[in-house]
């Protein structure tokens, strides 16, 4: 019997989270992410998990952090204005190092914007949406199957690094229906909740970093009597008003991600073997960009595509190497121009970087991207 199913990106995301061990969901209805909440409401109690619909987006974020602190893997999902509201406690999760995944099915903004219309306008918000300095991990799938896969990755990274992870979907992938075959549970690598490596009697400190700079914070209810706070704290978990502790705390938050960047930052290359030009794309837009690349190839333009699966931490190494290799880069994104600035920064002047932007509720047509590729290639085909 075929295991193939017709499935929507949002549904696959919910299935992926469940497969990764998520057993708690708190959310608030908002289009175009609602199917994730609906999926979790239906599936979680079947596996003994819990779904709770909260009074607002802030509470949805708070309730999942509370659940996570007891050792349950927890998920929330939202879009546009909802993600803006969640920022306060996304910052809390970063500071207090609480594993959690936030799905953002992007829609047109700012503000209420164009509900349900696709956008990729939250790329910089995903990185810099909260106040203060901390790193972020954000992943962006381009297919229904990858919505499942990146949901698993997001949950794993949140646990591995004890940090909030944003699954930066877009309406294109969220509402896309495709035939997919999902992997068996046995095929998945699942990162378990980190456990204390010492007893209280041995001088356990909840925020003392392990070798990978990530602390093994005890789950609530296990007798460790830990203190968790959004105030800057030292290894004990208690607030300390010292410049040295503040600097060290913020340094460690950044370093724990930085030293593992190669493990986290994924890109995929298409038609790049002989490419003289490259399109950089991500999420649903990469599907159209890929079609445009194939069309351009038919016209004799040696162009390939680099697709960002991990948006943050940004693929500096890959883009730097790419810029050294090609004659020009075209960045396609459904916004006024956000990730293009990161590509320019990483390319560091080695080749021209052009932008193909769209922010009018509609997705790209392959012809639009093809035209931009032709302009970039100019007379060089």
């Amino acid at each position: 019997m075929s295991k193939a199913r017709l499935m929507q990106g949002n549904e696959a995301c919910a299935e992926g989270a469940l497969a990764a061990g998520v057993r708690f969901f708190g959310g608030y209805p908002i289009t175009p992410s609602t199917e994730i909440a609906e999926g979790m409401a239906k599936m979680l109690p079947k596996v003994g998990g819990k779904f709770v619909q909260m009074e607002d987006e802030i509470a949805s974020m708070g309730v999942v952090l509370g659940a996570s602190l007891t050792g349950k893997k927890a998920l929330t999902a939202s879009s546009g204005p909802g993600i803006s509201l969640k920022q306060e406690l996304i910052g809390y999760a970063a500071a207090a190092e609480i594993p959690v995944v936030i799905v953002n099915v992007q829609r047109v903004g700012p503000s209420t914007g164009q509900p349900t219309a696709p956008s990729q306008g939250d790329v910089m918000q995903a990185r810099w949406g909260t106040h203060g300095d901390h790193p972020m991990i954000a992943l962006s799938p381009w297919s229904v199957r990858e919505a499942f896969d990146t949901a698993v990755m997001a949950v794993n990274y949140s646990e591995r690094f004890r940090t909030p992870v944003i699954l930066l979907m877009d309406e294109i992938v969220g509402h896309l229906r495709e035939k997919v075959e999902l992997p068996e549970a046995s095929e998945l690598e699942i990162y378990p909740r980190r456990q204390p490596d010492k007893t209280r009697a041995d001088g356990y400190q909840p925020y003392a970093p392990a070798e990978d700079l990530v602390p093994n914070v005890a789950d609530f209810g296990n007798g460790y009597h830990i203190h968790v706070t959004g105030l800057i704290h030292d290894e004990t978990g208690f607030p300390v008003g010292s410049p040295k502790v503040t600097r060290e705390a913020i340094d460690r938050l950044h370093k724990k991600i930085a030293i593992a960047q190669d493990e986290i930052t994924h890109v995929e290359e298409y038609c790049m073997e002989d490419a003289e030009y490259a399109v950089v794309a991500f999420g649903g837009t990469a599907r159209t960009a890929y079609e445009a690349v194939l069309e351009a190839r038919k016209k004799g333009i040696k162009v390939g595509m680099v697709r960002l699966i991990t948006i943050w931490p940004f693929a500096d190494k890959a883009i730097k190497a790419l810029a050294a290799k090609v004659k020009g880069i075209l960045v396609t994104e459904l916004n006024y121009g956000q990730i293009v600035n990161e590509v320019e920064r990483a390319a560091a002047g080695q080749c021209p970087v052009e932008l193909c932007a769209k922010y009018d509720m509609t997705i790209f047509e392959p012809e639009e991207i093809l035209e931009s590729i032709e302009n970039l290639a100019g007379g060089n085909k």
Binding site: P45, V47, E55, V63, G66, G221, N222, H227
Partner: protein, 274 residues
Amino acid sequence: MERSFEQYFRQNRLPHLWCPGCGNGIATKAIVQAIEKKGLDRDKTIIVSGIGCSSRASGYMDFDTLHTAHGRAIPFATGIKLANPELNVVVITGDGDCTAIGGNHFIHGCRRNVDLTVVLFNNNIYGMTGGQASPMTPTGKKATTAPYGAVDPTFDACKLAEAAGATYVARSTAYHVQHLTDMIANGFDNKGFSFIEAMVQCPTAYGRKNKMSDPVELMKWMRDNAVMKAAWDKLPEDKKVGDKFPIGLLYQDTEVDYATAYEHVIEVAGGAGK
């Protein structure tokens, strides 16, 4: 046993940061004495607080403790309780934390009837930020942001909790120490959302602005104006005036709590035992 409450405090985190004469210490001690009285397992009791003077209490208490963001203690506590119903979850909040920035969470926490014990330290002011008016600053009383007296009418947090669906609602004061302890302890017995308003004196930020900077005077005010519920109910309406207010068990109900209700959902969905 005389000072047995001390074992519930992290001695290395003391002394606390509260001002001399503050009532928060009395309310915090009442909580741990209620915990002791009911014999709650310390390893299975979680203290969750928001932001403000009240909410610093969690750091001094020797349990798993969670100092959340401003107004958000109840959502965090809800997550803890639903994810692990065997835990006792106590919320410490303040009048600004609970009824202003956390007001929506407060009413919905009551509505869901999550099995939490929420103790609101009501000092009638934003103390940590230096004395701004809160939704529970009495109308006409002064604050740094109400230099001519507060214009806003106040919330009665107990009436709010009752109307929103809390199943145990009580009030006491820092003057009535034993009574306050009992009100909290009885709240632990209620399997549902228990709300206890603990009136506490703030001589520094509230009293100073309102010619009541002597903590003893503030406590005498509590003594003279608090009326036990049974006596309050017998008072004619024309006597329920001025500063008089009722203390004691104000409301109780027996609705099913959220986690228990959700067990039924799990059963229907076929997930029991998983």
